[in-house]
């Protein structure tokens, strides 16, 4: 409940900030009509846009329009912001999801392995590599991939999304060979940091659980190493790992901005950067609100999943209610 209130507060603040930017950064009338428009034309448009009303009324109208998915017009593209965002969203969602899945698929097993076989050579190598994964900035990692796989080997395309297939409003690159090929390097770039991070966090959590008494007891009962590792230890790390994964998904979306720029991937992140570089306020204000919504939703979902997964929390809740 408290978390939900906090989430609502964050969203409200972000919407207010977006409105302030939208309203007070630059003059939208000049941005739309151009610098050589007459005063009469500007007044007419100002009235048509409702900019001559009081700030409170304008804010109410702004919120009302947001709730209806109306984010105004992009200065740079001359199109409704909502349509532009919708066009660009599938590319980012596909990239972020693939990156996240790769990070989970490699990071969790690697974390478990390095915790269970802490002293093996493989673990030391994995930890060393993960240090590099954390220290190499993602744009440079992307560049190294392009240099290796596009320039030296010529295997993969260095930019773009390849051919996409349109399914309703959703454009997917997952159904064509060129789309899949174009997805490989951006996914690897976005996942590198996350794999390293995930591995280190899972390892730390596993090590903490493995030191507990019930693990020693399980071993004393003569259970196989496999059963102890997976049924006892790993199960008890699930809640933490899930929290990490949720928060990581947020940072994947943030890192998508950089990865999309390196590979000219036509997603929301690239749109955000282009609109920042062109001072296209409606677009980046809308992006801000959208990202805030995504982050807040992730946080709330993770909180709810706690209850679904951890029986202790459900029991505590029942006790509190009774």
């Amino acid at each position: 409940m408290q978390r939900a209130g906090q989430a609502a507060f964050v969203l409200a603040t972000v919407v207010l900030l977006a409105f302030l930017m939208f309203r007070f950064l630059g003059d939208p009338v000049v941005a739309i009509l151009g610098a050589d428009s007459t005063g009469l034309q500007r007044d007419a448009l100002r009235h048509a846009l409702g900019l001559d009303r009081s700030v409170i009324v304008q804010f109410a109208v702004f919120v009302w329009r947001l709730l209806h998915g109306d984010f105004g017009l992009s200065y740079r593209l001359g199109q409704p912001v909502a349509r532009v965002l919708l066009q660009r969203a599938p590319a980012t969602i596909e990239l972020a999801t693939c990156g996240m899945l790769l990070a989970l698929a490699v990071g969790i097993p690697a974390g478990v392995y390095t915790a269970v076989h802490a002293r093996s050579v493989g673990s030391q190598v994995a930890l060393g590599v993960s240090l590099l994964g954390i220290s190499v900035p993602s744009f440079f990692m992307g560049m190294l991939f392009i240099w290796l796989f596009s320039v030296k080997l010529g295997w993969l395309p260095s930019f773009g999304r390849g051919n996409t297939v349109q399914i309703g409003w959703w454009s997917t690159g997952l159904l064509t060979v060129s789309g899949l090929k174009a997805l490989i390097m951006p996914t690897m770039t976005i996942a590198t940091f996350q794999v390293a991070m995930m591995m280190r966090l899972v390892r730390a959590e596993m090590l903490a659980v493995l030191r507990m008494d019930f693990i020693r007891f399980a071993r004393a009962r003569g259970l196989s190493k496999r059963a102890v590792t997976f049924n006892h230890a790993l199960r008890n790390t699930v809640v933490t790992v899930m929290t990490i994964a949720g928060l990581q998904f947020g940072s994947v979306i943030a890192f998508a901005v950089i990865t999309e720029s390196v590979f000219q991937w036509p997603g929301l992140g690239l749109l955000f950067l282009q609109s920042v570089a062109a001072a296209d306020v409606p677009v980046f204000a809308a992006y801000l609100v959208l990202i805030a919504l995504v982050f807040v939703t992730i946080n709330v979902v993770v909180d709810l999943l706690y209850f679904a997964i951890d029986p202790r929390l459900r029991a505590a809740q029942r006790v509190a209610n009774a």
């Binding site: 507060f9 972000v14 240090l131 900035p137 440079f140 560049m143 901005v257 950089i258 920042v276 990202i291």
Partner: protein, 302 residues
């Protein structure tokens, strides 16, 4: 500050340092980088910004160990015949200036906010901590990009280009204050309840003095560790923003700007323009992180 220096002298931190090869190597690398960045004009073999010294015959000269390379240009030259090594050293000057200054700015904002929130509590605490919550919702990278965009929209491109270095410092500095504020706040809340603070209050010390002379020295140790970690983050942020084209402009390139420029030549085969500045960046970040790791462990012991 004095007490921390004294405690450093009393402890065996420096002895510990000489027995940690990784920390020692990192420190050496940081010293070399720091000195080169501080006096690039004396360290760099070529004056890369003096157009008169450039020779187009040197354009795209490969690194020294490749055919056509010469040791006058150890890492090769760019499209205008600039020595890459010298460009890296000058770029380092900008990169380190921006990242160190922005860390200091985060530190100043964060420590002030944390001290005030922790000491006074109540409304001040609520306002500062809610602001921190909102900011923590977004990764620092997005905040920095956004601040950059807001400044660009408010003042225009020309002004942005002219003050790019300061805008970068402001954007990165403002994106990183929350961690310091949280750390200092919780430490201040603990210290504020202790007897010495009570005593200082009873003898009528003004609040400003209690905060800066009594509490601050006792909450500052974890801030140093955080500062090193954040320095690595700031270095990466500056490089990333410059790389995507909204940071430091090419007229006075930082490491990130150099990599951005070099990126344009990657596909045509002149890889050294981008790869060497990139390696210089990675080595710097690894050294800062390793040194920070060691420092965190060492300061915990005192």
């Amino acid at each position: 500050m004095i007490s921390l220096t004294w405690r450093l002298g009393q402890s065996d931190v420096l002895h510990d340092l000489t027995h940690r090869p990784v920390a020692l190597v990192s420190l050496t690398i940081l010293l070399v980088y720091g000195v080169s960045a501080a006096i690039p004009g004396l360290v760099a073999p070529h004056a890369v910004f003096d157009l008169a010294t450039l020779d187009f015959a040197d354009a795209f000269r490969p690194p020294a160990w490749l055919p056509g390379g010469t040791w006058a240009f150890p890492f090769g030259a760019d499209d205008q015949g600039r020595d890459i090594l010298s460009a890296i050293i000058y770029g380092l000057h900008i990169s380190l200036f921006v990242s160190v200054a922005s860390v200091l700015m985060s530190l100043a904002i964060g420590m002030t906010a944390g001290l005030l929130a922790g000491y006074f509590g109540g409304l001040i605490d609520a306002v500062i901590m809610r602001a921190a919550d909102v900011q923590l919702t977004f990764p620092a990278m997005l905040i920095a990009i956004l601040i950059d965009g807001v400044i660009r929209a408010a003042f225009g491109d020309a002004v942005h280009e002219q003050f790019a270095v300061w805008i970068m410092i402001f954007a990165i500095g403002l994106s990183g204050w929350v961690q310091y504020a949280r750390t200092v706040r919780s430490a201040t809340m603990v210290e504020a309840g202790k007897d010495y603070v009570q005593a200082a209050r009873l003898i009528g010390q003004p609040t400003r003095v209690i905060l800066t002379r009594h509490i601050l020295p006792n909450v500052v140790t974890p801030v140093f560790v955080l500062g090193t970690v954040q320095l690595a983050v700031a270095i990466i942020l500056e490089a990333t923003l410059s790389f995507v084209g909204i940071g430091i402009p090419p007229s006075e390139p930082s490491l990130g700007t150099l990599i951005r420029i070099g990126n344009g030549f990657l596909l045509s085969g002149e890889w050294w323009l981008a790869i060497f500045p990139g390696l210089a960046l990675v080595i710097l970040v690894v050294a800062v992180n390793q040194f920070g790791d060691w420092l965190g462990g060492a300061l915990n012991q005192i």
